[in-house]
Subunit: 618 residues, 2 copies
Amino acid sequence: MSRFLTLIPYLAAQRILKTSAKPRYLIRTIQVTKSHGHICHEPVYSRLTVPNSAVSKRDGYVINASDTFNASDSDPVQLSVFDQVHTGSPIPEGFDAVVMHEDIREDVNGNITILKPARPGQNIQKAGSEIKTGEMIIPADHVISPEDIGAMIGYGITSVQVKKIVVGLIPTGDELKEPCTAPGPGEVIASNCEMLAASLVTIGIETFIYPIIPDDPKKIRDTVEEAVGECSFVIISGGSSTGCRDHTKDVLTAIGTILYHGVAMRPGKTTLAAIVQDIPVFGVPGTPAGALAVLRGLIIPWLSDIGYPVPIHHSIPVTLADSVPSELGTDDFVLMVVGKVGDEYKAMMVPREGGQISAVKSNAVLHIARNSEGIGKGKKSLVHMTRCSPPPDNIYLFYGMYDPILDVLDQYLRKLNKRIYVREASLESTLLSMQKNTVHGGIIIRPRNNGLNVLEHGYTNTHQKLCTITVADREYILAASVFPNYDSLKEFAFPKIPDHSFLYEIQEQFILNHQINPLLIERIEPECKTELEIVQQIIQEKIDFGPCSASLASEYDLFGPVIGSERIDLIVKQDDAQSEQINALQEILSSEEWRSESGHLQGYNLKRSGQICCLKEH
Amino acid sequence: MSRFLTLIPYLAAQRILKTSAKPRYLIRTIQVTKSHGHICHEPVYSRLTVPNSAVSKRDGYVINASDTFNASDSDPVQLSVFDQVHTGSPIPEGFDAVVMHEDIREDVNGNITILKPARPGQNIQKAGSEIKTGEMIIPADHVISPEDIGAMIGYGITSVQVKKIVVGLIPTGDELKEPCTAPGPGEVIASNCEMLAASLVTIGIETFIYPIIPDDPKKIRDTVEEAVGECSFVIISGGSSTGCRDHTKDVLTAIGTILYHGVAMRPGKTTLAAIVQDIPVFGVPGTPAGALAVLRGLIIPWLSDIGYPVPIHHSIPVTLADSVPSELGTDDFVLMVVGKVGDEYKAMMVPREGGQISAVKSNAVLHIARNSEGIGKGKKSLVHMTRCSPPPDNIYLFYGMYDPILDVLDQYLRKLNKRIYVREASLESTLLSMQKNTVHGGIIIRPRNNGLNVLEHGYTNTHQKLCTITVADREYILAASVFPNYDSLKEFAFPKIPDHSFLYEIQEQFILNHQINPLLIERIEPECKTELEIVQQIIQEKIDFGPCSASLASEYDLFGPVIGSERIDLIVKQDDAQSEQINALQEILSSEEWRSESGHLQGYNLKRSGQICCLKEH
């Protein structure tokens, strides 16, 4: 077995599948009410004639049109033969027109007088005008929609033959464990087939997941042979590479014909396809990203190519907020987050190596063809949407610093079918992206009433007029594990903190404000670089107290007086502040609902949430 | 009760719903594998740390990086401490790097030699680098996708709390019958709620259909009160107007607060909304078109407005192939068929009064706002797609004459996820539409080897160079119920047929060709204007034989020699004949598959199917 794959181009793999692989359709009779999205196997003909007799289209009176031919405003005709009808009522024998209440005069005795001639057939729907018994409702191969379900039921049909695709999914791998178990070192819970199944269900395909098979050629072979006897086609998850535990290729070579092994696509290159007993069998990588890329990039397009009605892939033109490098010779499928900035859709890359959680964050895929080395920041491209909720129109893209309150904000926005995606970035690259309009804005965290100078400097550099919209103030306390009696303290054991850091500044300010005798102050070594280190020293009783954020303190059951705060602001361009999107965000941040929603958060002060402040030029 | 509704504007109804109606979410715990499309009720946190130990990213050897620091091409280092690992294997205690097979030399004794220094941590994925126990996988209000299902299962989650919307659907009306029954005159099978249910299911909403309720206020009231106790919101189908059998309004007035009754939209104007015990209750018309228009135009947009994640409504810009008139003051929702002609999407109107079958034919809705009197032919507009299969890119739009073989062609195209929609139209309007590029072409049926002159004339008029692509020849026979012995016949009883009609011409040609003695020929009165009349006279033995199409003859078990044929052609512009779309259609018509597929059709000759003929200028 060779350790290296010879990769064929992605398009070649698509072509091979199109010409050499056909799924087996399974014919099933199902209830019409459950047939939504299914493919009709044979034409469906009406069992009924609708309407089944001539019926009135209106509430009114059935009359004889010939009785009214001489009627006019000046010479109205009083009718002797008529009857009341409702919309949908059958027309009784001997009548040929319906007049509406507004076209006649009724007197108190129930006599009716008509002012203008009625046309024979007026307001009458003829028997069979909608459909007649035996006429076709839908042709074969029609994909059944809600309207079709209504029509079939209305026309007397209760069950329908459909062509189903049922995919056999075979999870393989010694490392796989069933859900509900605790995986040991190197073990993982099998989830690939469940993910593939959910994806296939969305396009109307049924799936059957076989039990987990270890990396054992004999067992894999038995399961594949069972699956090709039962399914429309088969996907084997895992074992698709060339390692010593990868058996898919050898098994499929033994019992079928390999179509390809190795495709120049990323992720997903160690994929293969074969035909076993006329049934296509795909091998996909055991990594979720690889499996999904092969499903989306090869298997679903193949189904579309051979005429299976895959719903339109919603793709939209975007401007890239990031440079997306790609390897020449490889078709690259890159997970993105798409949002709408101003009138344009922008796409940010999601970390490539984040595993399943990256796919959870993304809502689109960017396909970079093999002849490209990547697409630069600011370039236009097409992306395929993989998730339509929240819609990209409702997604905010920000660069900048991270604070957990942004997760809370995202959570709050979800309720409104909106979302905020924040990518950690330096202030400089945030400002440059804002200048290029590839993001809605930035996130900046700074000591309250301070720290705007760097921003003002930045905006002078990029010539943008900026303003800030406050998200929250993050409060800092002088944390302690027991409430100290300051007066009785002989000495004050403070942490040693690097000079001029924010924590240092607020600690010194506290000492100054409380006029603590410098001689009583001890600064305990080793120096604490982070607030977590300060908290640990407090817990270990090495120090009495120290500055840290109130939110962190609360996690460790520490408390103390507020001694400073940092402000978490959005920065946006002044010109955008009144745009519909930013305005909506600012209104949300100003709302009482947001304050009460996030009010449970320890250590944040939301009094100023939503406040706008325009920055002056430096 | 007033007979007339005071209609409020459509947008006003939308606004009222947005501010006054909220559905009740029902919280349920479901299996993660079944959670696709559901809205997560609470954030989901990882139960596991992934990977749960440091693992190798590659197949290769675990080593100690410090053993390799001095290695170089010229001075390779032979390793004494190493072990083999696979991708995903845990890194054993005491190792800190993985080297791949291609970066080392192995000798026959299994000794390995390394040529360049390895970096500590190289090819090792740290424990928890993907996610740690307790970290959030998805926030609340997230709509669960296949990727999310994969992630949740992979991170140890097997069930999830979701927020469900469950809609109660109440069919009302004395005229309604259950499916599987035979409706009497004026009765119809209840299908509205099934159609609404199928539509709601597509956006992730569950439904419960109550039993059919007659037009009885007490029973309607009881059912509504039951439904508002159980459901997120309620839709009552039927009884929403002001007739004497319409009770919805009175019932809702008695037990709740009416938000509106009557909206200036078409179809659907007799709709209402109310709040009963804080639960929204909608009344929709009993007509399927009206019910669907209210669902799509008011109820689904309301759900979107209040933050329910309705998938993006796919709308596309089209050019109208027809003029679409609309009433000023009414928001009009018009069913359309959208196809792609050249590079542009074009939309044709589907007959407005066709009942449920019109909705079956359509794939889009055109919304004309109240301030418009309609949109002219050739104008651009946006339509909302209601059906995505076949995609509009694969739909052919034709004007012209109708023949049943076009249904067979449509049926054949469905297999290829394509479709042809033919609208009966005169040759003149066909040619004008072709000139405006609003259709792919026309359908013309003419005596074989004849009848092109009018087309050539037409094309001179509109200055289009045209060509024909033959679909089939429809054959005509001299039909008889018993095979006549021509020689023994004393006289020949032919039908009397209007002069110069096609049937007349082929009958006379037959007489001429067979040199029948004119004195023996009798032409039986009354004159037959249609081939059906000729067939009926043959069956009634009033005539011996007469000309009719072989397909009609076969339906009545008549037979006889072929005496003529009509050709059914597509006409397209010569410039378009090589376009991808027309070329594909021509190839289909030329294919053996099409011929064998349609070969079972009696009376059609497919020998010339797919033949192209360019018309000369007149």
